[in-house]
C-alpha cells in the first residue's frame, strides 16, 4: 500500500511543477502521471537533410519532445521516475533519447533520493538550445532524416514561424501604421514585411495597369547594392505567381499577371511567330514558354535562371511540372524531319497554341508539308548564290497553286501545267485553272488582271529568252531612233 505521505509528496511535486510549467498536464487517470511537450527551438536553426534528396533545410522549430513522467511508489527515495521520451515524427535518434533518459538516472543518483523532476526538466530545456547536442557547431553537416518525415517537419516549422510572426508587430512602410504580424506578409526572398492590405492595393493596381515589372518587393533598399550602375542593370526580381497567391491576391489577378509576364517574354523572343489567322493571333506553341495551365504551380516569374536560393525550411516542396495536355512536337520528331530525304534544315511547322492551326513559320500559310519550297527565308540562312537564285525565282517564276513548286515559263501561252503535280494554272496570277476549260480564265472580263492576256510573255519569262527579247527590242529602239535622226537631218538639209 502506498504511504499517504509519499502520495502527497508525489502530488505536491507534480503540482509545483505545473505551476512552473503551465503546459504540464497531469493525467486524469492517475495523479502520478504527467506529460509535457518541449518545443525544440535551438539557438540556431538545425540543418537537416532527407535521405535520397538533394539540398538541405534549416529548421528553426522542430516537433516537440514529449515527456511522460510516471512516479513510482518508491520515488524519490528508492526509485528514479519512470520516463517515456518520444517525438512525432521520431526525428531524435534513439541513441540521443537513451542518453537523455540515462541523464535522469544519474541526476537521481546525484541528488541522493531527492525530488529531481524540476532539475531534470530544466536540464532538458537547456539541451533544447543545442537540439540535444545535434546542433553541429559549424552548422555544415546536416542531420539526415528519413524522407517520410519531411512534410511533417517542414509543416511544423512553418506553422510555428507563422504563429510567432503573427504575434509580432511591424510598422508597415506604406501606410506607416503599426500592424500585427497576422495582418502582414513577409516577402520570401528578402524578408521585408508589409501589411497585407497595402500589398494587395499596390499589386492589384500594378497588375490592372499592366505594370508587371512593379510586382516586386516595395522596400526602397531591396536588391540595391549601392552601385547604381550594377543595380540598374539587374533585372527586377518579381514575385512569383505562387507567392502572390500567398499574399494573398485573387487568383484571376495572379493569372492576369502570369499571362502578361509570359506575353512580354514571348514578344521579346523573335523566334516565336504568331498565328496567321487574323481573328486568332495566338502564339506558336513552344517548349520554352509552356502555356499557363495552373498559376499555383508557377514558382518563378523571371525567365533567366536565378541564383539557387538558400533552401529555406519553409520552402514548399517543388511540385512536379504539369504534364502538357497536348503532346508538343518533341526533339525526336524534329530530328526525324531533318533526316527525311529532301528535308529542310529548320523545322518550319508551327502550331498555334490557341486555335491549333498548323502553319508554316516562314511563309505563314497553313502547313504545306516539309518538301514545299517557301519564302521569305531568313537572310542568315542564305549564301550569296542562294540569294541570287532566290531573287531570280521571285522575279521570273510563278508558284504552282497546289504544290508551290516554282515554274518558269520558257515560251508559249499563260496556261500552265505544273511539271510536278500536273495542276493547271495561270502563269500570271497563279490561279488554279479548270482542266476542262482552262482558257475561260483569260476570257473572263471579271478577271481584270488576266483578261485577254493569254499571250503575255509569249517569249518566256526571264532567263535567256527574255534577255534575247530585251536585247532585240533595245536594238530595235536604237535603230528607229537613228532613222528618225537621219530623217530630220535630211529634212534640215532640204531647207
Amino acid at each position: 500500500m502506498a504511504d499517504p505521505a509519499t502520495e502527497d509528496e508525489h502530488e505536491e511535486e507534480l503540482n509545483t511543477l505545473q505551476s512552473i510549467y503551465p503546459e504540464l498536464s497531469i493525467s486524469s487517470r492517475s495523479p502520478y502521471v504527467a506529460e509535457i511537450d518541449l518545443v525544440v527551438a535551438p539557438v540556431k536553426p538545425l540543418l537537416v537533410s532527407f535521405v535520397e534528396e538533394q539540398g538541405s533545410h534549416r529548421l528553426s522549430y522542430l516537433s516537440p519532445l514529449n515527456i511522460t513522467i510516471t512516479l513510482p511508489e518508491g520515488y524519490p527515495a528508492e526509485e528514479p521516475p519512470r520516463l517515456k521520451l518520444t517525438t512525432t515524427p521520431r526525428w531524435i535518434p534513439d541513441t540521443v533519447l537513451k542518453k537523455l533518459q540515462a541523464e535522469c538516472q544519474s541526476l537521481w543518483e546525484e541528488y541522493g533520493g531527492m525530488p529531481i523532476l524540476f532539475a531534470y526538466i530544466s536540464y532538458l530545456q537547456e539541451s533544447v538550445e543545442t537540439a540535444f547536442g545535434l546542433l553541429d557547431p559549424s552548422n555544415k553537416t546536416p542531420l539526415e532524416l528519413p524522407r517520410d518525415m519531411k512534410p511533417e517537419l517542414l509543416d511544423f516549422n512553418a506553422k510555428m514561424k507563422r504563429e510567432i510572426f503573427d504575434k509580432e508587430t511591424f510598422d508597415c512602410g506604406i501606410c506607416l501604421e503599426p500592424k500585427k504580424g497576422a495582418a502582414c506578409y513577409r516577402i520570401e526572398r528578402c524578408g521585408h514585411v508589409f501589411c497585407t492590405p497595402c500589398l494587395q492595393d499596390f499589386y492589384n493596381n500594378a497588375v490592372a495597369e499592366g505594370d508587371v515589372n512593379s510586382v516586386k518587393c516595395l522596400d526602397p533598399s531591396c536588391g540595391k547594392t549601392g552601385d547604381t550602375r550594377a543595380d540598374r542593370r539587374q533585372k527586377p526580381r518579381l514575385l512569383s505567381p505562387k507567392e502572390l497567391l500567398q499574399v494573398p491576391l485573387k487568383k484571376d489577378v495572379v493569372k492576369r499577371f502570369a499571362e502578361m509576364r509570359r506575353k512580354k517574354k514571348i514578344e521579346a523572343d523573335k523566334t516565336i511567330v504568331n498565328c496567321p489567322r487574323k481573328w486568332c493571333q495566338g502564339f506558336a506553341r513552344s517548349d520554352k514558354y509552356p502555356k499557363i495551365t495552373d498559376v499555383t504551380l508557377l514558382e518563378d516569374s523571371d525567365s533567366e535562371p536565378e541564383p539557387e536560393p538558400e533552401p529555406e525550411a519553409h520552402a514548399v516542396p517543388p511540385n512536379p511540372p504539369e504534364p502538357e495536355p497536348e503532346p508538343e512536337p518533341s526533339k525526336n520528331q524534329e530530328h526525324d524531319i531533318e533526316k527525311r530525304p529532301g528535308g529542310v534544315s529548320t523545322d518550319r511547322l508551327a502550331i498555334c497554341e490557341d486555335c491549333n492551326l498548323a502553319f508554316c513559320s516562314v511563309c505563314l500559310a497553313s502547313w504545306h508539308g516539309d518538301f514545299v519550297y517557301c519564302g521569305p527565308r531568313k537572310e542568315a540562312e542564305l549564301s550569296e548564290e542562294d540569294q541570287a537564285s532566290l531573287n531570280f525565282i521571285l522575279a521570273h517564276t510563278s508558284p504552282c497553286p497546289y504544290c508551290s513548286v516554282p515554274s518558269q515559263k520558257m515560251h508559249g501561252c499563260n496556261h500552265m501545267t505544273c511539271s510536278q503535280c500536273k495542276t493547271h494554272f495561270c502563269y500570271l496570277c497563279s490561279s488554279w485553272l479548270d482542266p476542262g476549260n482552262p482558257y475561260e480564265h483569260f476570257n473572263n472580263k471579271k478577271k481584270k488582271e488576266c483578261f485577254q492576256r493569254l499571250w503575255d510573255l509569249e517569249e518566256g519569262d526571264g532567263g535567256d529568252a527574255a534577255e534575247a527579247q530585251a536585247q532585240f527590242w533595245e536594238q530595235e529602239a536604237l535603230r528607229l531612233q537613228m532613222e528618225e535622226v537621219r530623217v530630220h537631218e535630211g529634212g534640215g538639209g532640204n531647207t
Binding site: 512602410g173 506604406i174 501606410c175 506607416l176 501604421e177 497595402c198 492595393d201 499596390f202 493596381n205 515589372n213 512593379s214 516595395l218 522596400d219 526602397p220
Partner: protein
C-alpha cells in the same frame, strides 16, 4: 484620394514637423493637403546660398503608390530642374519607375537639398546646363549665382 492616402499624408506631415530638415519651412493647408508649399533656403555650402526658393509638392491620387511631384516655383539654374515655368524635377526616387511606396517626403526633401549642394549632372533634365556644369564650372557657377540674385532674393 483614399482615406489611407490622406492618413498617410497627415502622418508624414506630422513627421516633417517633428523633424524638419534645417533651412526648410513647410506650409500645409488642411483643406488642400495634397499640395504642400515648401520654402527652402539655399544650403550654405552651395552656390545657391543666400537664395530662398519656393517649391510645390503635389501628391497624386495614387500616393504613396505613385511619387509626389516636385516643382520649383522660384527660377533656379540647375541641371536637374527644368528651365521653364514648370521648374520640374525628375530623378532618382522621384522617377515613377524608381519610386517605392515606403519612400517618404522627408527623404524627398533631403534629396532636393543634397542636389542643391551637389547637382547630379549624369541624370540631368537640362543637358546643356549639365554640360556646362561638367565642362565649364566657372561659367555655370556664375550664372547660377546670378540667377539667385535675380530671382531668389
Amino acid at each position: 484620394m483614399s482615406a489611407g492616402a490622406k492618413k498617410r499624408i497627415m502622418k508624414e506631415y506630422g513627421e516633417c514637423m517633428k523633424d524638419t530638415p534645417s533651412g526648410m519651412k513647410i506650409n500645409f493647408d488642411e483643406q488642400n493637403m495634397t499640395e504642400w508649399e515648401i520654402l527652402l533656403d539655399g544650403p550654405e555650402q552651395s552656390i545657391y546660398s543666400g537664395g530662398h526658393f519656393k517649391l510645390k509638392m503635389t501628391f497624386p491620387t495614387e500616393y504613396p503608390f505613385k511619387p509626389p511631384v516636385v516643382s520649383f516655383k522660384t527660377k533656379i539654374y540647375h541641371p536637374n530642374v527644368s528651365n521653364d515655368d514648370k521648374g520640374s524635377m525628375c530623378l532618382g526616387m522621384l522617377r515613377p519607375d524608381e519610386w517605392k511606396p515606403p519612400n517618404k517626403v522627408v527623404s524627398v526633401l533631403r534629396l532636393i537639398q543634397t542636389l542643391l549642394i551637389e547637382p547630379n549632372a549624369d541624370d540631368a533634365i537640362e543637358p546643356s546646363i549639365a554640360n556646362e556644369y561638367k565642362e565649364n564650372r566657372k561659367e555655370f557657377d556664375k550664372t547660377a549665382k546670378d540667377w539667385v540674385k535675380r530671382y531668389a532674393k
